[in-house]
């Protein structure tokens, strides 16, 4: 009798324990720190659209409403729990915020950083802490060219792709470039973009000379003097990597003065200002989006799903920043699920996550993302360049004369730095 009672009790305890275990598994979440600009000058153009993209995706993933292979609830059944952090405040603050996310918030991964300066500062910290970090946006090639990482990844191509593609576009369109003027912001992003475009033009147009090289400070806002300088010695092509409010101000101030009638303006990252500027954006400006994003994105079922959901939810079409966020989340989701498959369904450790993402490949709304460079830690992807043309029919700036470039045509190979690759005459490029 006693034995029966004991075994009944044991069975009840076992049942309760398995129920609790089941419940705890179902309730286990995957915590992600999402870091981007929520205030300051980069918020409107980059931070907030990207965070909006993340919020939408988290909602859809948590409901299991993504298209295959993104149709499992959350990450491998674990609900995603995002913690949003403002990137404003400089690199020192971001280092502290990153430590807080790992140590206090106990996040399982961090996806973040628009600023190249912030990326260069936080990457070594994540590596030192042996915690998983995805850099989703920043453009400087230096992150993985100056050192190697085990726990840090970048799921978007770096700025070399944008500037090489611009040069190749000019060549493809038969533009006879004799002189080039530059206007780029006076910090890492502006300097790297200038260097890459200048080196590209030296290869593609060896006889072209450099005219003005203007480097206004970030957030200058007033470009009257720079516009005078660009107009007084107009070049065949004027290159700029300005973005956000700075780019909007340059367009608003230069168009009425007729700068674009004297020079062919080429913008390496200009798509994001189109919805806001509308018909204030001059026609015929050549621009890139740092990927095949927004109005240059490919017509695939995955892109149609993402584009229409975003447009419906936020009443504006997605430009480059949310695209880069979504490709980071999709890559992370598949990596988590692959790692769980390998470890018997448990939440993966940073090492397991890193092993799953390293060298992987996945389809994003902008096309295939391949972690091909920096020993499988740096993505390459296809891109596109086009020209602006305002349409009275759609009442928005449309992008015409789109030329697409394969990832291996405009990104350096794994065994060369971007600068070496361009200077070698794009050795091994597959165009």
């Amino acid at each position: 009798m006693n034995r029966i009672r004991i075994s009944r009790k044991l069975a009840a305890v076992a049942a309760a324990a398995s129920l609790v275990a089941g419940l705890s598994h179902a309730e286990e979440t995957f915590r992600i720190g999402v870091v981007s600009f929520l205030s300051g000058q980069a918020a409107e153009s980059f931070g907030i659209p990207a965070v909006n993209g993340a919020k939408m995706l988290v909602d859809l993933f948590n409901k299991g409403e993504g298209p295959a292979p993104y149709n499992k609830v959350g990450f491998g059944g674990m609900k995603i729990e995002p913690i949003y952090v403002d990137e404003a405040g400089g690199a020192t603050k971001q280092v502290q915020e990153l430590r807080n996310l790992y140590d206090r918030e106990k996040v399982d991964a961090v996806v973040g950083y628009v600023s190249s300066g912030d990326c260069l500062a936080v990457a070594p910290v994540a590596e030192e802490m042996k915690r998983f970090l995805i850099l989703y946006d920043c453009g400087t090639p230096r992150v993985f060219e100056e050192r190697s990482y085990e726990y840090v990844f970048r799921t978007a191509a770096h700025a070399t792709m944008d500037n090489v593609a611009l040069g190749r576009y000019l060549k493809a369109q038969g533009v006879d470039v004799k002189t080039v003027n530059y206007i780029n912001q006076d910090y890492a992003w502006g300097h790297d973009s200038l260097r890459d475009f200048n080196a590209t033009m030296t290869q593609l147009y060896p006889n072209a000379t450099t005219g003005q090289d203007l480097r206004p400070k970030f957030g200058a806002g007033q470009y009257g003097t720079e516009i005078s300088a660009l107009m007084s010695k107009p070049a065949t092509v004027t290159h700029s990597s300005l973005w956000g409010g700075d780019l909007q101000a340059l367009m608003l101030q230069s168009a009425p003065r007729g700068l674009m009638k004297r020079t062919q303006m080429v913008l390496s990252a200009g798509d994001h200002v189109l919805p806001g500027l509308g018909k204030k954006m001059p026609d015929g400006v050549i621009l890139g989006a740092r990927g095949a994003y927004g109005l240059m994105s490919p017509d695939t079922p995955l892109n149609r799903w993402w584009f229409s959901n975003y447009e419906k939810r936020y009443d504006v079409y997605p430009v480059q920043a949310p695209y880069r966020m979504v490709q980071a989340f999709m890559g992370l989701k598949l990596a988590v699920e692959r790692a769980m498959q390998a470890n018997g369904g448990k939440k993966p450790t940073p090492e397991q996550l890193a092993a799953a993402l390293k060298g992987s490949e996945w389809e994003s709304p902008a096309g295939m993302i391949t972690m091909a460079n920096a020993n499988g830690h740096q993505a390459i992807q296809d891109t596109a360049i086009s020209k602006t043309k305002f349409s009275t029919k759609t009442n928005r700036v449309e992008l015409v004369d789109i030329v697409r470039f394969k990832a291996r045509c405009v990104n350096p190979p794994a065994d060369m730095s971007s600068e070496e690759w361009i200077k070698s005459g794009f050795k091994g490029a597959q165009c």
Partner: protein, 297 residues
Amino acid sequence: MLLLTILADGVIYASWLFIVALGLTLIFGVLKILNIAHGSFYAVGAYAAASFVAWFVSMDMAPEWSILAMLMAAVATAALLAPLTEQGLLRFFYGRDEVLLVLVTYALFLILEDVTKLVWGPTPYYVSEPYTLFGNIEVGPLFYVGYDAMLVVFAILCGIGVWWALNRTKTGKVVLAVIHSDEVASSMGVNVSRIYTFAFAFGIFLAALAGALTAPMVSVQPGLASGVIIVSFAVVIIGGLGSIQGAAIGALIVGLARAAAVHTWPAAELFSVYVAMAIVLIFRPEGLFQRVQARKI
């Protein structure tokens, strides 16, 4: 031709800077406050202008009315924020260490940054209609926007207006008396508190006016405030804190130095402004128009 271009660009930039710096130097002159939040009032002025111009456009008013809308925006900003800030916050710190007041205005700067985001959101506003109102002006091989010339006229009018109000009106003379010594002015029956409120409101009006006048040239969005404050401080330091003539000359020095650098040595653009400031401070540590004052014990 290059000299003419440098002159034109320098004067246009200086005009914009002068309107911003005029309010900053006036507030320092009267209240002895280094107002870090001045850039925030500039930003609020830009946002208010965006709202007022949009409101005028929605009432089908001709684009010419947008200039009036911008003026109204500056007045509304000053009328709403100046009493709130000066009476509700700053007056509690009068007589305290100047460094504490700098910290208080810095806190105000941070608060206003978030307030503008709460009120207007992160989406940019465009008010470019007034920018093309005045057509284009041809200067040699270049075209300038007529709006820039209007900005120069506006800056001159602001400078002359403030100088005239201070030196040729009774209220202005009372303000000068307070600038000279608030204790003596108070003992002579001047309502110093009211002068403080008035001067602060006028300073805020000038900041908001500069923001409103800038709005057509830029996209009005978060982050406007921080860009303007540092260079405005350079202007008032060159000219001498509290001096209106100093703000005018300081703005011209900064504008011309920057324009010369952009046209001849672009890498030194930012450097040129601070080199100009350093040279002035070597010879005139108090700024160009600040008289050396005996230290009060």
